[in-house]
Symmetry: C2
Subunit: 422 residues, 2 copies
């Protein structure tokens, strides 16, 4: 999508991969970082297995990163598990939480719309999906009454054990308010639910007045009544934010208030796959421990990071702005993350035409768009939506000039489509 990798990150990983380069003309801080990582690797090589929960020095760096991010609230490296991207850790946690048969089967609350990793993993584990709807009219915020409705309905046919939140949101691009997060934590405490906070877009916040609040921080600021009881796993990754290094499959989770006996089982569970990719672990280390102001790579690092985030922010605003000029498309502001999930008003005739083809109406719309323009959007029905509403998901990732063209083509298509079926 045209976003460039962060130079410092790639320099350090190249040095780690081929340490002969340590004799070469690389910035001293990149060399120091590479030496430090290699020293923490078995045999001083990225090629050795690491501990199943990840390299200890890197888990320590992750804990320090979390402490800085959360204003000093302590983080224990023993609670950190490195993973192959966030999705690996999310699936591991869902696996750990799933048990029972029939009405005692584990139920897991996930948002609608949702990121399909969750529904897919729950289906694979034969766990029960308990859907709660985000409030589109309030910019995809969470409503605790909807959570209560959903868990009550869930208790009829399964054993609700966990609630998953994606913040900033995928595919809906919202950033939850602090109040919202407190509500969710209180709800999880009341209902004895394990809280899973998917926070992989924590640096992707664009809208004015919005701010990322980590569940960990809010939990601890709510006092020991909550911070000593609510079980929480929060997830982060090297794949999003300003890094975009998806291919390296780096990630981690922090686990809070987990019963030590269960934690032993978790450690056992992750050990089956030996260890996460060590180059991915090394890259994660750089994300949580980037160049410091007194280091030679600092200025370039800040420039690159700022540029990447600035461009994403511009594209987020442009996407919502252009789509909202189209009659029949309603788009909430893209407050964060990398997606928008606009609502479509589709003519009755189009809905009937879709039914004749045995397609969901938004699938019908997206297929026509694809055929006529070559643009591939994902129909809302792939993510879940309230009955009778239609959406598509698109990313804001294409390069600005390309994104402009894409949005323009969607506008023209929507007009043509609406006319054709009116």
């Amino acid at each position: 999508m045209g976003q460039k990798p962060i130079t410092f990150f790639r320099q350090v990983i190249a040095l780690c991969v081929y340490p002969d380069l340590l004799e070469d003309k690389f910035p001293e801080d990149a060399k120091n970082r590479a030496r430090r990582i290699l020293q923490a690797c078995g045999g001083g090589s990225l090629g050795a297995y690491s501990a199943s929960s990840g390299i200890e020095v890197i888990r320590q760096d992750v804990a320090k990163y979390i402490e800085r991010r959360d204003g000093g609230i302590p983080s224990n490296p023993d609670n950190i598990y490195l993973s192959s991207g966030a999705s690996d850790a999310i699936v591991t946690m869902l696996k750990l939480l799933t048990s029972g048969e029939g009405k005692t089967r584990t139920g897991v609350m996930i948002s609608i719309p949702q990121y399909p990793l969750y529904s897919a993993a729950l289906a694979e584990l034969a766990a029960v999906q308990i859907s709660y709807c985000l409030d589109e009219d309030k910019c995809w915020s969470l409503d605790v009454n909807e959570l209560r409705r959903a868990v009550k309905a869930g208790r009829e046919h399964c054993n609700p054990r966990a609630i998953c939140i994606i913040n900033p949101g995928n595919p809906t691009g919202q950033v939850q308010s602090r109040q919202c997060i407190e509500d969710v934590i209180r709800f999880a405490a009341e209902e004895h639910l394990f809280l899973m906070a998917d926070e992989v877009y924590q640096d992707n916040v664009y809208a004015e007045g919005c701010q990322f609040h980590s569940f960990k921080k809010v939990l601890f600021e709510m006092g020991p009544e909550y911070s000593s009881v609510v079980e929480l796993a929060s997830f982060h990754s090297t794949s999003k934010c300003y890094m975009g290094e998806c291919g390296f499959r780096g990630g981690y989770m922090e686990v809070i208030n987990m019963d030590p006996e269960v934690k032993l089982q978790l450690t056992k569970l992750v050990s089956v796959q030996l260890c996460p990719s060590v180059p991915g672990q090394a890259l994660l280390d750089l994300v949580v421990n980037p160049p410091q102001p007194d280091e030679p790579s600092y200025d370039t690092f800040i420039k690159e990071r700022t540029a990447n985030l600035h461009i994403l922010s511009e594209k987020a605003k442009m996407t919502a702005q252009v789509l909202n000029t189209v009659p029949g498309i309603h788009c909430n502001p893209v407050q964060g993350a990398m997606y928008t999930f606009p609502r479509l008003t589709l003519p009755e005739k189009a809905i009937n035409a879709a039914k004749e083809k045995e397609q969901a109406p938004d699938m019908f719309y997206c297929m026509k768009l694809l055929e006529e323009t070559g643009i591939c959007l994902v129909p809302g029905s792939g993510f879940g939506q309230r009955d009778g509403t239609y959406h598509f998901r698109m990313t804001i990732l294409p390069a600005t000039e390309k994104l402009k063209i894409v949005l323009e083509k969607i506008r023209e298509f929507h007009k043509r489509f609406t006319e054709e079926f009116s």
Copy 2:
């Protein structure tokens, strides 16, 4: 363990990670290889997600590697799935094959002794482990009568669906004969079992008269009666052989004769985790497509590969030779792979002392060894063994001089231990 990474592999990966190095003084073939891999990556970067089954060019290279290895028997890139090491692909296949409840539950045949990945994955999936014993007296070879006994016993309480073979063997270090492999294929055909061939040690064959025969090759040489019906998945990895790049988590499986509808489900299953580590995929590409005789890096590559394999071969011979000089230790030749699984004769008093401590006798032995010498061997009970026999597993991996000392210390310890409990 002192084994050096292959220079060419690390050079190419470093070039892929930090393409600015393409302007630097690297061998031309390394640069060409890096350019070719980057061209096959999304956005020309290791940082982009790949297809869930892996980068197409690399799957093509894997198919060509298999064809060369198997004397021209065709391999279709559409049958290749790249993975995060072999264990990832093995767990995926076991997941795909597991279903049913109670007596219809999937049963999977695994060897005893076995590599604990298999028992752990089967336990996690709640599939039924059907154990068949390798014949220690015939150098851990497979006996088809034992397979028949095991599957018959299995049918009493589950639905046997698959048989797993590790060849060369982990933890037993045997290399199965061609006859053995034919027997297994015939057995799988008769019993309609899915065949899973774990062949990650395919380059690790040391004993004279032994040769690696891939299940794929033998299957196709047995003619269409078998090659058109027996379902086979075979696994390979960047972690073993002369490479030893475990930390990169590279691997693949080739799937033969799988029903197209099932293959669609397999593709869906692997897509949940997005994609295997792209640096791992790149490394795998170099393993299956190493420097050619007319390329500048060829001589160094061959020298390094030969040296690594030669040292392993020496250590394999030395390990069996030294252990067999110890009265009370019986060690089969280490024909291949990286392990030995010697049988211990333990004095009655030691067995009783272990019972008092509620430890398996070989656990008791290994704990005492650890306490007295600092050497950590894994008791045979962790891998499975015939009742009333005792073993330990050790790797042949420590550097030659270190291994000599280790073996010497084990010899002394065994003598002391036997005297103490006689």
